[in-house]
């Protein structure tokens, strides 16, 4: 690891100020960033810890019934909330207990790892990502592998998720990394069904629109019988071919629909 300065602000305003300096980077749970620093994949001059900012932690429900989660809220706290059970189940299956005691929802969304779990929940739930300057719809937030709409120095302060009528996340776990080989989040909203797929595509998390259409008229696993996602842009690696991932997308989507009830 290269040397860097360390700052621990207690307000969003101070964090934004500290991040305005050259090569400063936000540190949330560090469960992705600390390993990257060790590998010298990141070399910030300063780390700005978000962990001491009380206004970025906690979970509540707003007047519109949306679950609002502070950007620096740890996975374990999301797993323990009861407002949105499918989201709690997803959070409770990320990595292992020690990872869940440090890793945060904001860190996961900002990182946008193509195999991470939260991006699929944000996309399928039609979440709004709130930053220190604006609100971004999940549909506009994820822009590619490890790429998001966030500007330099912009931080996720809160995530607002509408709670679907029915929802479930099914993850086919890659046993060594504990990330998703393929994960599918299915959400039935009053105005339609959204299906988001993680782990599978070279473009990162995506909405599987064919499945959404099939489920909108008939919300049952039968509606997806024989369907699998387009294999042409799927990740192919030692863990599975693109065709295998495309096949798993259908399997996981059917299981998710069944689990959602």
């Amino acid at each position: 690891m290269y040397a860097f300065d360390f700052e621990r602000p207690s307000t969003i305003a101070d964090a934004v100020k500290a991040l305005g300096q050259d090569d400063a980077q936000a540190l949330a749970g560090g469960q992705t960033l600390i390993p990257s620093l060790k590998q010298r994949l990141a070399m910030p001059s300063k780390l700005v810890s978000l962990a001491g900012i009380d206004e970025m932690r906690g979970i509540c429900v707003d007047d519109g019934g949306r679950v609002c989660i502070g950007g620096a809220t740890i996975h374990a706290d999301v797993a323990a909330q009861e407002h949105y059970p499918a989201l709690a189940a997803l959070a409770g299956n990320i990595g292992d207990p020690a990872v869940r005691n440090r890793g945060t929802i904001g860190g996961s969304l900002a990182n946008n790892d193509p195999s991470a779990c939260y991006p699929s929940a944000a996309l399928a739930s039609n979440a709004t990502i709130v930053t220190n300057t604006r609100e971004i719809a999940a549909d506009d937030f994820f822009t590619g592998l490890f790429e998001t709409a966030l500007e330099d120095g912009e931080i996720i302060t809160e995530v607002k998720l509408p709670v679907p009528e029915k929802a479930a996340y099914m993850k086919f776990e890659q046993p060594a990394s504990r990330f998703a080989l393929v994960g599918v989040f299915v959400a039935k909203h009053s105005d339609g069904v959204r299906v988001a797929v993680t782990g599978a595509s070279n473009g990162g998390v995506f909405r599987w629109t064919e499945a959404e259409e099939a489920l909108s008229s008939n919300f049952s696993a039968d509606a997806l019988e024989g369907m699998s996602a387009d294999a042409s842009n799927m990740i192919s690696d030692v863990h599975g071919s693109g065709a295998y991932r495309a096949h798993l997308t259908g399997v996981m989507a059917r299981r998710a629909v069944t689990a959602a009830g």
Partner: protein
């Protein structure tokens, strides 16, 4: 160099660190508490698990500077002042829950955290909670037995899958 202060195993501890000093290095190098092990240094193995403000975390993936003012408990803080083993440690000894012992500090700290939240976990809850703790020797069965026994349950029921 910046200074950090925290409470480790009930005692005030402070020292000079760099921004990049990991909690595990502060514990081992500054405080000489070498019971916390580094197996992988990549947050995979759980040998370095300690408790920070009551939560089990991987000390190789937390900076010392993040623990300013925190209450930290390491494996050295588990036994009584007279050296008597606590219930989890004693059960690991009784049920042969270790062979080389390298993973054991992390196993004990993780098991203790589980039992604080869930005093009578089922076998599958125990196996689930140990997801991030890797043991290259025991095959896990005796570790699971030890945790069953430490929680006052019948260790004889553990299935050898």
């Amino acid at each position: 160099m910046p200074q950090v202060s925290m409470t480790v195993n009930g005692k005030a501890a402070s020292g000079e660190i760099e921004g990049r000093t990991l909690l595990v290095d502060f514990l081992r190098d500054n405080l000489g508490l070498t019971g916390t092990h580094v197996g992988c240094d990549t947050s995979q193995c759980g040998a370095c698990v300690v408790h920070v403000n009551g939560k089990d975390v991987k000390a190789c993936s937390v900076f010392a500077a993040e623990c300013e003012g925190a209450e930290v408990v390491t494996i050295e803080g588990m036994a009584g002042p007279d050296g008597s083993l606590n219930a989890v440690q004693q059960a690991f000894q009784d049920h042969h829950g270790l062979q080389c012992g390298f993973c054991t500090p992390g196993m004990v700290m993780t098991a203790a955290a589980l039992l604080q939240k869930n005093p009578k976990p089922s076998e599958s809850e125990i196996r689930d909670y140990l997801e991030g703790n890797i043991c290259r020797c025991t095959g896990y069965h005796n570790i699971v037995k030890a945790i069953m026994a430490a929680s006052g349950q019948d260790a004889g029921q553990v299935a050898a899958e």
